[in-house]
């Protein structure tokens, strides 16, 4: 798959399964791994980094899960193309921006991927739609076993899998759930939830993970600690916590609807109207409107849309996707026009499909 095909690919994690009425977008399990007897990536020479890439590609070839995966070398991509990978949640902003020999290996449906030479030699990722933390862990665990059968990992009995940053040592497992919490933001209870999570060693991050800000009321809930807890316990605990957050969000949504039904309906339908008709849409405005529409879907006010529609729209309207579609760099103002066009055309398709069905 080349980058243009990738920009139009249907990533499985956006398909809206197990979404708890639009509250949960996706879940991601990430394992940090290093090859034994090799300098860690931040201190490695270009030759070392090359050797890591070679070993990983060979190991992937020998397994079943990634033997038909696509591979990109970061330095062979343009800035915009690297940012496109960030927008698709296939690479971290850090991998896209750093220098040296780095690579990305990913499967056809983008549910499995491997970042090579980020902060650690390997960052294995499984990303699935909705709240399927157990399945995401199982998928990344299977990939880990396949690669581990071919390459020796840096591991100590005492401290587990050894990572460049001590915050990832142990299981190396970071599990994150991308969750939409508009009602908790509106009722200003989000701070309380965030604080509660921090106290039990879980954390809330932004849209693209560590060091990024929440956009469109989307948050990533993830485990903070990677040492001293078995992987299954992390999965269990994060799932239970997410279910509690979903319940809080649902309560807040019900309360909003009960106390201010007209205002909530107005907010949702106005957003729907704007998205269907606007001629200029900035990224931030789009994400805020989409959040209102998603709330409308969660509340059962908008029956004509679903999570898959909103999730895909959210990715294809991001700056690098728009530029890729237009075949090159475009200025921000022009991008806002393209974004509005793209959104409108998606809504028109939706309306015509609905017309056919009725």
């Amino acid at each position: 798959m080349n980058i243009i095909e990738l920009a139009a690919n249907h990533a499985q994690w956006l398909n809206g399964a197990e979404d708890y009425h639009g509250v949960v977008v996706s879940c991601r399990a990430r394992l940090a791994r290093n090859l034994s007897a090799m300098t860690f990536a931040p201190k490695a020479t270009v030759d070392d980094q090359e050797r890591v890439i070679e070993q990983v590609l060979n190991a992937a070839q020998r397994g079943h899960l990634m033997n038909s995966a696509s591979f990109f070398r970061m330095d062979a991509l343009r800035d915009n193309e690297r940012r496109l990978l960030v927008e698709r949640h296939l690479v971290s902003p850090a991998l896209a921006e750093s220098s040296g020999q780095r690579g990305l290996l990913f499967g056809r449906d983008e549910s499995l991927s491997i970042m090579i030479n980020e902060e650690d030699h390997l960052r294995l990722q499984a990303i699935l739609p909705g709240l399927q933390a157990e399945d995401a862990w199982a998928a990344v665990n299977a990939l880990d076993d396949e690669l581990g059968a071919s390459v020796a990992y840096a591991y100590s009995d005492r401290w587990g899998f050894l990572t460049a940053c001590p915050t990832n040592v142990g299981t190396g497992l970071r599990l994150s759930i991308l969750i939409h919490l508009p009602a908790l933001v509106l009722t200003e209870d989000i701070e309380r939830v965030t604080r509660g999570l921090t106290e039990i060693a879980f954390t809330v991050r932004g849209f693209y993970g560590e060091g990024t800000h929440p956009v469109g009321n989307l948050f990533q809930v993830s485990n903070q600690s990677t040492l001293g807890f078995e992987e299954n316990k992390i999965v269990e605990k994060l799932t239970a916590i997410t279910q509690q957050i979903i319940a809080c969000e649902k309560d807040a949504q019900d309360a909003l609807l009960k106390e201010a039904r007209a205002q909530v309906e107005d907010k949702v339908w106005r957003a729907y109207g704007l998205l269907s008709n606007a001629r200029v849409l900035s990224s931030q405005e789009f994400m805020n409107l989409l959040s209102a529409v998603r709330l409308g879907y969660s509340l059962g006010l908008l029956k004509q849309i679903n999570s898959a529609f909103m999730n895909r729209l959210m990715i294809v309207t991001q700056p690098s996707h728009l530029q890729m579609e237009n075949g090159g760099e475009i200025a921000s103002e022009e991008r806002d026009v393209c974004r509005a066009e793209r959104v409108r055309s998606h809504f028109e398709t939706l309306a015509s499909e609905e017309g056919k069905q009725s």
């Binding site: 201190k43 038909s68 299977a142 076993d145 001293g228």
Partner: protein, 179 residues
């Protein structure tokens, strides 16, 4: 906006404390929250009169203690015999140089890991032995999920490719078990 403790990472969380009935908010990164959290717990059970009175003081104390964690010159200058990194360099960049650094800096890391994770021993998966033949079971499960998704999205060309791959793995596994 950089984290107000480490001044290195981007702040991701507005961290609010109530100290002496005054609300104080600090912008912190993910790494620094548990450190201050842990110190806060310590501070709530004062052993002496030096318990911090305000968040900025508290944070300052944490920062100083973090930097001073056993700060004798000998410790600072401990060198990893594998990659040549010193403990001082590690503290500056926050990333270890190689797997051997974990042995070279073991006493210092023990304290640090306990503070970061609240634990100092691994519990969970160990790596599979190199040379083990991976079971096709999980790969097949993954591919069947993919096939289901491809069919539901009406991507039949993709579905056909996945089906062929499933057949190939099944034939391969059968061949292996009968030989």
């Amino acid at each position: 906006m950089k984290c107000e403790i480490c001044h290195k990472n981007d702040a991701t969380t507005a961290y609010t404390h109530i100290v002496d009935d005054t609300k104080k908010t600090l912008l912190l990164c993910g790494n620094c929250i548990p450190q201050s959290e842990e110190k806060k717990k310590d501070a709530s059970q004062p052993k002496d009169d030096q318990s911090p009175k305000s968040v900025p003081q508290l944070i300052k104390k944490v920062k100083v203690e973090f930097n001073n964690a056993g700060s004798s010159e000998a410790i600072e200058n401990t060198v990893c015999r594998e990659c040549g990194m010193t403990y001082k360099q590690f503290k500056k960049v926050g990333r270890l140089g190689c797997h051997q650094c974990y042995t070279s800096f073991a006493p210092q890391l023990e304290r640090l890991l306990k503070r970061i994770h609240g634990a100092d021993a691994h519990c969970g998966k160990a790596p599979i032995e190199v040379g083990t033949v991976p079971s096709p079971h999980k790969a097949l499960e993954q591919l069947r999920n993919e096939l289901k998704d491809a069919v539901s999205c009406e991507q039949f060309e993709r579905a056909a490719k996945i089906r062929d791959q499933i057949r190939e793995i099944e034939a391969d596994a059968e061949g292996r078990s009968s030989s």
